[in-house]
């Protein structure tokens, strides 16, 4: 089963850029003056890469959050990082700085991270569930602030904000791809450096502590790395739900191995999931693409429930 899926994924990755509203004959692709060449290299290819990297970051973020919080329902958005990004994007739009919205989104995400860790440093004893609650409280606060933004914005601005919250993989050129590739490399490097600690955290905090781990420091480093990476990803694409929740669970069901061995598969298939979702969104034949966040939830939620039923019944 694993090999079949891998083969399918590789084929998918290769053919994904060729499908879309405009047909691209291969003969025209290498003619650098043609429109097809431009569409392929400036729009399609960056888009597929963007989907892959963002999907990978979100899925891996989900794995880390579920491990650190020992809660299978946490996602990279649980601590409010995505809500922070969304709120600041809305602020950028309402203030008339739409073009700078990725920058605002990044500032929003990072500010959230700083607030979280600022609050956490005041805890007398390390307690991941308190941190989780602070994140949830922040999310609600941001949601209320976002409502205010909707309320004071014009119809056009409201529409722009709404589109951001649905997620979008529209991108032109490779500059942003390089930033995301570096972000992914950073996240993977941090996780690999801490993979033994991660494996110990997969048992219990107590056991990890007795093996000499500084549990608090390790958790903070992992959460910080994920939050930064997710902040960067969300600032380009908006919040794309469900990837971080379902991909780790699906991969565990398929591989039946402990999470520390699934770091690369989860990154790869998280990316593939978003590439596939985007491919479907671009080719449904509607006048405009279906927002990617809507599609991931439509695909992900039923499949996730199916897996849960299958696992519980076997």
């Amino acid at each position: 089963m694993k090999k079949v899926i891998l083969l399918f994924a590789l084929v998918l990755l290769t053919i994904a850029p060729f499908f879309g509203q405009i047909e691209l004959p291969i003969s025209e692709l290498f003619n650098s003056d043609s429109m097809e060449h431009k569409v392929f290299f400036d729009i399609r290819l960056p888009r597929v890469l963007l989907a892959f990297l963002v999907g990978g970051i979100l899925a891996l973020g989900g794995l880390i959050f579920q491990t650190v919080f020992r809660n299978p329902m946490s996602t990279p958005f649980t601590l409010g990082v995505a809500s922070g990004a969304t709120l600041f994007t809305a602020i950028a739009i309402v203030l008339g700085f739409s073009t700078l919205s990725p920058l605002f989104a990044f500032v929003g995400a990072m500010m959230t991270v700083l607030i979280l860790f600022g609050v956490a440093s005041r805890f007398e004893r390390y307690d991941s569930s308190s941190l989780l609650l602070v994140g949830i409280a922040l999310s609600f606060f941001y949601a209320a602030a976002l409502m205010v933004m909707f309320y004071i914005s014009s119809l056009q601005e409201s529409y722009e904000i709404m589109r951001f919250t649905m997620g979008s993989l529209d991108i032109v050129g490779f500059e942003n791809i390089i930033v995301l590739a570096l972000t992914s490399a950073f996240l993977l490097a941090v996780i690999f450096k801490y993979r033994y600690e991660l494996k110990l955290l997969l048992t219990s905090y107590e056991f990890a502590y007795l093996k000499g781990i500084d549990v608090k420091k390790t958790n903070y480093i992992l959460l910080f790395a994920v939050s930064v990476a997710v902040g960067v990803a969300v600032s380009f694409t908006g919040p794309i739900g469900f990837v971080g929740l379902i991909i780790p669970h699906i991969l565990k069901t398929i591989y039946k191995q402990s999470a520390d061995k699934l770091i690369m598969p989860i990154f790869f298939y998280g990316g593939m999931f978003l590439v596939l979702s985007d491919l479907i969104a671009r080719n449904l034949g509607t006048t405009s693409d279906i927002p990617i966040g809507v599609l991931t939830s439509f695909l992900g939620a039923p499949f996730f429930i199916y897996l849960l039923i299958k696992r519980k019944s076997s």
Binding site: L200, L202, T203, L210, K211, G212, K252, K256, S258
Partner: protein
């Protein structure tokens, strides 16, 4: 290197002071909720306190091998979050040095055989019965081999044969360097013969030799005549 706790008090415990030399063993007794596990967590540094030192080092202040070498705590129940971690993988982590990347630790199979767990080596920890989990924890303690190892009710879930097996290990003074055993099983405590620390209302009511503790008169005052010494066995009157 002796372990020392110097006049420690909190909401549960009152004025706890004692020290134990490396190589000595101790049994900790006391009724439910009296603070035995609390005391264990303080000794390990899981609940940080300035009152504890092991060879002049405070275990909550050091990290890595340095701490792992000093003291280990074996909880009454196995807690593993990931559902696919196997018995063998769990024990690989149980090694001192597992943290810094011992790729192929030896000795795991020997310990698994000793505890009659070898047939479970590739089974997921989450799928073990409570008795098997308890033996797995004991196995991890043997591999970890800290200077002091605290066992928190190690026999609670064991069947009679497994109980004998574990008794043999705990009785053997060469098993681990120093053992601190928390238990409610008075017969076990009596037959191990190690010194006794008895807690009552959070305070140290008795700290001394096994023989003195298990005098019938002493037992009557401590346990309100609910325990009896009968033909060299400690029996709970039912």
């Amino acid at each position: 290197m002796p372990i020392k706790i110097d006049n420690y008090s909190n909401e549960i415990l009152k004025n706890i002071s004692f020290s134990l030399e490396a190589g000595e063993h101790l049994i900790i007794l006391g009724s439910n909720g009296v603070g035995k596990t609390t005391l264990a967590k303080i000794l390990c540094g899981m609940t940080p306190s300035k009152a504890v030192t092991i060879d002049t080092i405070n275990p909550s202040k050091v990290y890595g091998k340095k701490r792992a070498k000093l003291i280990n705590y074996i909880p009454p129940k196995l807690d593993v979050f990931d559902e696919f971690i196997t018995v063998h993988e769990f024990l690989e982590l149980g090694f001192i040095g597992g943290v810094v990347g011992a790729q192929h630790p030896t000795g795991i199979d020997d310990v698994l055989k000793k505890l009659q767990l070898i047939h479970l080596a590739n089974k997921a920890c989450k799928m073990l019965s409570s008795g098997e989990s308890q033996l797995l924890l004991i196995a991890s303690a043997l591999l970890h081999d800290a200077c002091y190892t605290i066992f928190d009710e190690p026999t609670a879930n064991l069947d009679p044969q497994k109980m004998q097996l574990l008794f043999g290990l705990l009785k053997d003074v060469t098993t681990l360097q120093s053992k601190l055993i928390i238990t409610h099983n008075l017969d076990l405590a009596y037959k191990l013969g190690y010194n006794i620390l008895f807690l009552e209302d959070g305070a140290m009511k008795f700290y001394g030799s096994n023989a003195n503790f298990f005098e019938q008169k002493h037992l009557d005052t401590l346990y309100d005549s609910s325990v009896e010494k009968r033909e060299n066995n400690i029996v709970v009157k039912l």
